[in-house]
């Protein structure tokens, strides 16, 4: 099932210049795995070495933060969206 993925423009060079694209997967878990298999440069921006989602990053599955989901084996349905947001800061 195709899932629409949206990423911040600052990360488009990690996804062949795209900010919107499709990933085909049966579950949310599979979609995330395929996302990083297809675009491995994205991973470092979203997860740290301890596999924790970075503090300034949010990943939404249909408007619900994946950090708050109890499980990721949720079936993907037509029209589902995965949206990645990041706060940009510095010091």
């Amino acid at each position: 099932m195709p899932l629409e993925v949206r990423i911040p423009p600052m990360l488009r060079d990690c996804a062949s210049g795209q900010t919107r694209f499709s990933i085909t997967a049966n579950t949310l878990e599979e979609a995330l795995r395929r996302l990083f298999e297809t675009y491995p440069l994205l991973r470092v921006h979203l997860y740290d070495e301890t596999q924790r989602l970075r503090q300034h990053v949010l990943i939404f599955f249909n408007g619900e933060s994946v950090a708050w989901l109890d499980r990721l084996d949720i079936p993907v349905r037509t029209g589902d969206q995965l949206t990645i947001l990041q706060a940009v800061s510095g010091g």
Binding site: D13, L41, V44, D48, E49, R54, G91
Partner: protein
């Protein structure tokens, strides 16, 4: 260029940037997380393929293939004091990397709010170098760390001499960072007075001729220019006193900050001094800090200013 936890490379003067696939990354079993890359510096001139990167959470990485792949110098993060490393307001960042000009095996790094470490064997072992710096006692088992170094530079003529803008004052070492002493004559602030506090700021830079520059702020509590005056202070070679060398914008108050990597000096003669503010303005002096101009443009918060010389012209 550092972008968050990644390093990007441009081979067309900054028009396009490409992320390095195998950038700095802690081993998963280390338990450390690389949050941001803070500093990228070339290795010793005799080792042209080497680059170093300082990161938050504090650690040092080396590339021996011009940045294509990176390895952590784990001897630093396995230092016996590591359990007592705690972050400053900007994070637990390794923000300064200095390499001895005659001995590539001697290096210094600065970590907020941990202190200075030196290696004399190319990064195999590290020792703390914070004697003489002011420290707030926090009761941790390792009093040799807990020092909030903001920025540090090496004297171009004497690699045993270093200068430091510290959280509580400005310091110099004449013995390779074994010991430090304050050099604050002429600077606003007073380490004796609790009201004024020791001179506070972030960047410190040095010209090839040995002139130092910094930008004092009001205080640790109020991190903006004192009275809104955008004053740069210089300590010329041969002098033991800081002097205000430029009232950069005399007619308008600028209640801004200048971050630790947002000030630099070029290698021309006479040399130029440049800095950017947290409100996005860039100022330059092409005559060693005597006269100042505001460069065109209004930007976001300026994190870093770097000059480079390019075929008879220069850019910052």
């Amino acid at each position: 260029m550092a972008y968050g936890p990644s390093i990007r490379v441009s081979d067309d003067g900054g028009q396009n940037w490409t992320q390095i696939a195998e950038g700095p990354r802690y081993p998963e079993e280390s338990g450390f997380a690389l949050n941001r890359v803070w500093q990228i510096v070339p290795g010793h001139p005799s080792e042209r393929d080497i680059l170093y990167a300082g990161v938050d959470e504090a650690g040092l990485f080396v590339s021996r293939d011009k940045g294509a792949t990176w390895t952590e110098l784990a001897s630093l993060t396995s230092h016996p004091t590591r359990s007592d490393w705690f972050p400053g307001a900007g994070g637990l960042c390794l923000h300064t990397i200095l390499i001895h000009p005659d001995n590539p095996r001697r290096m210094w790094v600065g970590i907020s709010a941990v202190g200075v470490f030196r290696t004399d064997d190319g990064g195999e072992t590290w020792r703390t170098c914070n004697e003489g710096l002011a420290r707030v006692p926090v009761g941790t088992p390792h009093p040799e760390v807990g020092y909030c170094v903001h920025k540090m530079v090496l004297d171009p003529d004497d690699p045993d001499t270093l200068y430091m803008q510290y959280h509580q004052g400005v310091f110099q070492s004449n013995d390779g960072a074994e010991t430090w002493f304050p050099i604050e004559d002429g600077l606003p602030g007073d380490r004796i007075s609790t009201e004024l506090g020791a001179p506070f700021g972030f960047p410190i830079v040095i010209s090839r001729s040995g002139d130092c520059f910094l930008v004092p702020l009001e205080s640790s509590d109020q991190r903006t220019m004192r009275d809104g005056r955008l004053l740069v202070y210089g300590r010329r070679r041969g002098s033991d006193r800081w002097e205000p060398v430029g009232d950069v914008v005399p007619d308008e108050p600028r209640h801004v900050n200048v971050l630790r990597d947002a000030m630099t000096v070029d290698s021309l003669e006479p040399y130029g001094v440049y800095f950017g503010t947290t409100s996005g303005e860039v100022f330059c002096s092409i005559d060693g800090g005597v006269g100042w101009d505001r460069l065109p443009g209004q930007y976001g918060r300026i994190l870093c200013v770097k000059p480079w010389i390019q075929e008879g012209e220069y850019a910052a």
